[in-house]
Each structure stands twice: as C-alpha cells, then as structure tokens.
C-alpha cells in the first residue's frame, strides 16, 4: 500500500492510542478525513490484516451496536515503521564542500 497523506493521518490517529478501539466517526474526527476517504482506506488496511474490526456488544438503550477498529500487532509495527520513514524522508544536510578535513578534528 502506497503511503499517502490520508493514510499517514489515519495511522497517526491509530497510533495515538494503539490499544484503544476506534469507531469510524472518531477516526474521521481524529484524522480530519471525510467518510468517503476513510472507509475505503480502512477496508484496504483490513484486507492487508493491519487493522481488525469488531462489533460492539449490544447495549440496553436500544442503540444499534457500532463497529470499531483497532490496529493489529503487525499493523502497529508497520505503522510505526512507515511513519518513521516518512519523517526520516524530510531532508537534512550534512555535506558541503569547503570543510575541514576529518584528520584535523583532533
């Protein structure tokens, strides 16, 4: 799966609390995505076994049970790696001409 900005946001939202189950609407709010973007992403993540979903146990107040999502162990690991890679991709410079030779560092 290619790293995209929405995907990055979803992963960050998940990693904010990796064990906490998240409802779709919570994730939308946390990641700032529209439902039309979030759900396709979630289903792709689920296909790749990075995210699992489960139904809430029905409650007495007659509300319908909601479905929640959470990262799998593999998902959390992959997400961390990917996000680390994204931040590492930002440029950084060490090199440029006209510097002292390493031998002269003492």
């Amino acid at each position: 799966m290619r790293m995209t900005a929405p995907l990055e946001r979803v992963l960050r939202a998940f990693l904010a609390d990796p064990v906490d189950p998240r409802y779709g609407y919570d994730l939308m709010k946390a990641a700032g995505l529209k439902s039309g973007t979030l759900y396709p992403l979630l289903s792709r993540l689920e296909d790749e076994k990075l995210v699992t979903s489960a139904w809430e146990t029905p409650q007495q107040d007659g509300q319908r049970p909601r479905k929640y999502y959470r990262l799998t162990a593999k998902g959390a690991e992959v997400a961390r790696l990917e996000l680390a890679q994204v931040s590492a991709g930002r440029p950084r410079s060490r090199a440029h001409p006209a510097r002292p030779l390493p031998g002269s560092l003492g």
């Binding site: 609407y25 439902s35 909601r66």
Partner: protein, 260 residues
C-alpha cells in the same frame, strides 16, 4: 433533537444508496456499521449547535457514496466517473440554450459531439501531462522531489544496514588486514563524499570502538555528528548512505561512552 427521526431517515437513505454500489456480500454489514454511526454523530457533544451536527451527519452519509463509488470492486465505478464528468456538459448545455447558439436539433448533436471530443482531448492532455510532463508544474516538481527523497532515504537505509552487517561480520578480520569490508556505493555522476576521507574517518571510529585508537585520537559521538567531508564531483561515496552509517556509529559511540 427535534426532527431527529426524520434526519436519521435521510441519512439512512443516503447510506442505502452508497451500499448499493458495494458488492452484495459486503452490503449488509456496511449498512449496519454506517447506520449505527449516524445517531452517534447527532449526539456528538463536541459539535455545537445541533444544526452543525445534523449537517455533519448528512455529510458523513453522503460521503459514503463517494467512498463506495470509488472503492475498487464496487459495482458502479464508471457511473461515478460519469457523474463527475457531467457538470461541464450541463453548464455548456445551459449556456448554449441561453445564448441561442444551437437552433436546430442537428446543432445540438454537433455541439454534443464537439463537447465530448473536447472533454476527451482534455483527459488525454491530463493523462499525457501526468505521464510525461511531470516536471512542468512547480508544486508537482516539489511533490515528486519529496517522493524521490523519501525513496532515496529508504534506499540509503537499506544500504547502510547492508554495509554495517558486512562490517560486523568481517569486523575483526578487516581490522587485522587493514581494509574496509562493506564499502560504500559510489556515485558515478554527481557529487559525493571524498572516499579517502570517509574511509579514514570510519577506520578511526572502528578503532575507537574496538578499543584500539591507533590511527588517531579517540572519536566521540559529537565528533561524528560534527564531521564534514569534502565533496568530489564524481565517484565519491553516496552521501545519504554514509550519513546513515555515521548516524549508526554515533549511536554506538554514545552507548560505548556510557559503558566506559
């Protein structure tokens, strides 16, 4: 909330529309999932006033249509694209009508064909631009460069890992023989660090780490962070890879200094 029941019904209708685009086996579950979110959105305590919650709920419900229409494997991809392409045609039709360009039915047909061809030409240009003309736009160039940087970084990481592994495997042998295993990739074109300088510096780091500071005074992590190399125009070591390896050594030196 007043009218909540009715609002929910509108939302559920929209979700139902969205679910029609899904393959049959996924339809029912998705519908239940989304329908269960609607009351939760209407009850969201963070969003005020109630009208905003209602609007948000409806946006959520209608957003699912876009999502299912664009999901791979959904039944109506083509239609979704057509729906996106339609507005320009409608505008054109209205303008034609208002300005009275098209008088006979034939005129309308010609206009329709012309519009279609124009639309195709635009898509063609867009496709060609995406394929070949990527360097043209400034924002695009930046995005592409950013992507290339990420990739280069990942490559450098992988290479650095390989080099470090090779060095760790052959470490003692090479220290004895006096040449470096797992050398750095060189850049054929374009600038890179001067190889001799890098080699010398790394030899000193390794000497420090192995407790044998012969080629020069001991190196500290701070030295590694601060070191700079001259750059050759061609044939130097690839900078990112060297940087990665040096970062690794800096960490190692840091740990070693704590151990001492």
């Amino acid at each position: 909330m007043r009218g909540e029941r009715r609002l929910l019904r509108v939302g559920e209708y929209l979700i139902g529309r969205a679910c029609r685009h899904l393959p049959a086996e996924a339809r029912d579950e998705r519908y239940r999932e989304w329908a269960a979110e609607l009351p939760a959105i209407l009850a969201d305590p963070d969003v005020r006033p109630a009208a905003r919650r209602a609007a948000r709920m409806l946006r959520y419900a209608s957003g699912t249509i876009r999502g299912t229409a664009l999901t791979p494997g959904s039944a109506r991809r083509v239609l979704a694209h057509a729906a996106r392409a339609a507005p320009p045609f409608i505008v054109l039709g209205v303008v034609d009508y208002l300005l009275g360009w098209a008088k006979t039915p034939q005129d309308w047909i010609y206009l329709g064909i012309g519009a279609l061809l124009g639309r195709l030409a635009i898509s063609g240009c867009r496709l060609a631009y995406r394929r070949w003309g990527k360097g043209l736009g400034k924002g695009m160039t930046a995005a592409i460069e950013a992507r290339a940087r990420t990739r280069a970084q990942a490559r450098a990481r992988a290479r650095a890992a390989g080099i470090l592994q090779a060095r760790a495997l052959a470490g003692s042998v090479n220290a004895a023989v006096g040449h470096a295993a797992g050398s750095f990739p060189r850049r054929k074109l374009g600038p890179g660090y001067r190889a001799a300088e890098v080699d010398e510096f790394i030899a000193r780091i390794e000497a420090t780490l192995s407790g044998n500071a012969r080629p020069g005074p001991a190196i500290t992590a701070a030295d590694v962070q601060a070191v700079t190399f001259n750059v050759t125009r061609h044939g130097g070591y690839e900078e990112r890879t060297v940087d990665e390896v040096l970062d690794h050594y800096a960490r190692e030196l840091d740990q070693a200094s704590w151990r001492l």
